[in-house]
């Protein structure tokens, strides 16, 4: 079980993925981005490494509201989150989503896409999905994109 968890952790937060996040954050430094992860540990690793706020189920309501307001008004350019922002949160200003890791659930993936498809002027939304090659993540990624929104 411990080995399985370790393997998943390696796939979720592979060094190459995190390096690419740096590139994406730099490329979209004028945009508002949401970085989605499968687990809290990766969300906090992203937060710690790139100094962006993280929202997980451990985040208190007050801080969560402050972070979302900060993303909306441009105080923050990006927010890392595990699953808590998958649904029920409206940030029309967010135009970039980076899926670092996730489950094979089509529903979850479509909901994540929905976070950046809120109408706001002439906004053009971009979704990136980072997948560690040669791991089970490739199958998970194929599964979650079995939806008309991705065809």
């Amino acid at each position: 079980m411990a080995a399985y968890r370790k393997q998943r952790q390696l796939a979720f937060a592979a060094p190459a993925k995190l390096d690419y996040v740096e590139h994406l954050l730099s490329m979209h430094r004028g945009d508002r981005a949401i970085l989605f992860t499968e687990d809290n540990a990766t969300a906090y690793e992203v937060s710690r490494r790139f100094l962006v706020p993280a929202i997980t189920h451990q985040t208190k309501v007050r801080e969560r509201s402050q972070i979302l307001a900060g993303l909306a008004d441009g105080t923050y350019g990006a927010v890392a989150t595990s699953r808590v922002l998958n649904e029920g949160v409206d940030v029309p200003e967010a135009g970039v989503a980076v899926v670092l890791s996730g489950s094979g659930s089509v529903r979850e993936h479509v909901q994540r896409l929905g976070r950046i498809l809120r109408k706001k002027g002439e906004k053009r939304a971009i979704l990136y999905e980072l997948v560690t090659a040669g791991t089970t993540e490739t199958f998970t990624s194929d599964r979650r994109r079995e939806h008309s929104a991705y065809r």
Binding site: Y44, L51, V52, Y76, G77
Partner: protein, 420 residues
């Protein structure tokens, strides 16, 4: 304390039976205990994440995984965790992330984001070194909390606590518990009843041949605060052990389906840490009653208030154990706080009064229970004080005055507790 998930039990018909540790499993439990305890002992000052990492290196068979989880839970209950710094991590994060966002927006095309520069700027402004800032940034996360103290015990004591914890965990799913206890002495009986009051457990009691029978409301019969009440309920077992030989029958609602099952257990007498002995001063009172005593004394009325040692017995109906006794000249009025857990408890007290409880008594119940002060008639030698929030000293004083003007019960049947 173990939870219902840690219980290793099987069902036979309508009965739930705890599966006692077989010899091999007991030996494995002892081995696990001997390996787990030093990890907590050596973990003082380490983060929870590090301690949990160490715990995960202690391996066992899938069959004994539940035992390991139970032992770890019991050890965690003996730990205190704290935060490293005096800073508010949420404030620090806001400052660091805001500055980082500014820095990222300001960076040129090919330039890389300079994380170290952001941290250095906040560190300098806060008078911290960068390492401290990094640790403080997420110090409020569960995994970052630091083990500040651990109350050690021997492997044998841990396995014994595990055995006892199985019964305690089952009782968390009880709707009603019936206990027969043969107290070793009148003092032991009095200590038991006072402790039950102190825990705020809702019970009725009757003397029976060779001891007492208690009917205790279980956590699943209650209006709210089930978990808190359940934790108090779990302390019943050591209390009974300290008192004398006991048998118990609990009506359970077990599993996700809340299946009605019966659970039986027996035990005692044996010494239980922290359970023995009687305390007669204000420390024996539940917090809310203790606060009331302080506030009441501050009012400066001519009533005297002290913890009650009486047991008001209505033969064939039940015994009431008040928390306090108020006295003024020849007037004596008892007081029992019923809290906010069960309407049934209030109605049982009303029944006691209506069937002839022969002492003046004031009951206090939370307004959350939606009971009316009118449930006790104006002629009754008892009154109900329905309170919102905390117990108010002035309202209690008013109720005492009303009661003082009522006629004394026809025949005084209240008897003091047996002498020690």
């Amino acid at each position: 304390m173990l939870t219902a998930d840690h219980v290793v039990a099987r069902r036979r018909g309508g009965e739930l039976m705890i599966r006692p540790l077989a010899a091999a499993d007991r030996a494995e439990a002892m081995r696990l205990a001997a390996e787990l305890i030093p990890i907590f002992r050596a973990g003082i000052g380490q983060s929870r994440e590090d301690v949990e990492g160490e715990l995960s290196t202690v391996e066992t068979s899938p069959r004994c995984q539940k035992i390991k989880e139970g032992l770890v839970k019991l050890l965690e209950d003996r730990c205190a965790w704290g935060m490293e710094t005096g800073f508010d991590p949420a404030d620090l994060r806001r400052e660091v992330f805001t500055l980082a966002a500014k820095a990222r927006r300001a960076q040129g095309g090919a330039a890389r984001f300079d994380r170290a520069a952001v941290l250095a700027e906040v560190s300098a402004a806060r008078g911290l070194d960068a390492g401290t800032l990094e640790r403080a940034l997420f110090a409020d996360l569960r995994g970052a909390s630091l083990l500040s103290s651990f109350e050690p015990l021997s492997p044998a004591a841990l396995v014994e606590a595990y055995d006892r914890g199985q019964v305690q965990a089952v009782l968390l799913r009880a709707a009603r518990v019936k206990v027969a206890v043969a107290c070793g002495s009148p003092a032991a009986a009095r200590a038991l009843f006072r402790r039950l009051k102190f825990l705020g457990l809702l019970y009725t009691m009757q003397p029976v041949d060779g001891g007492h029978e208690l009917i205790i409301d279980g956590p699943l019969s209650l209006f709210e605060s089930v978990t808190k009440y359940g934790h108090r309920m779990a302390q019943l077992v050591p209390l009974l052990d300290a008192c004398g030989a006991w048998t118990l029958e609990a009506d359970l609602r077990w599993g996700k389906e809340r299946m009605p099952l019966v659970f039986r257990a027996r035990g005692g007498p044996r010494a239980a840490p922290g359970a023995a002995g009687e305390i007669d001063d204000d420390r024996a009172l539940p917090d809310e009653v203790s606060d009331l005593v302080r506030a009441f004394r501050a009012l400066g009325t001519d009533w005297r208030v002290s913890p009650s040692r009486a047991m008001l017995d209505l033969p064939g109906v039940g015994i009431c154990v008040p928390d306090l006794v108020f006295t003024r000249e020849k007037e004596t009025i008892y007081f029992e706080a019923l809290g906010y857990w069960s309407r049934e408890a209030v109605f049982r007290r009303v029944d006691l009064v209506e069937r002839g409880l022969a002492a003046k008594i004031l009951f206090a119940a939370s307004a959350k229970l939606r009971v009316s002060e009118q449930v006790l008639g104006e002629e009754a030698p008892a009154a109900l004080y329905v309170h919102k929030g905390t117990l108010k000293a002035r309202a209690v004083a008013e109720h005492l005055e009303w009661l003082a003007h009522r006629a004394a019960p026809a025949k005084a049947k209240a008897r003091p507790a047996p002498p020690a």
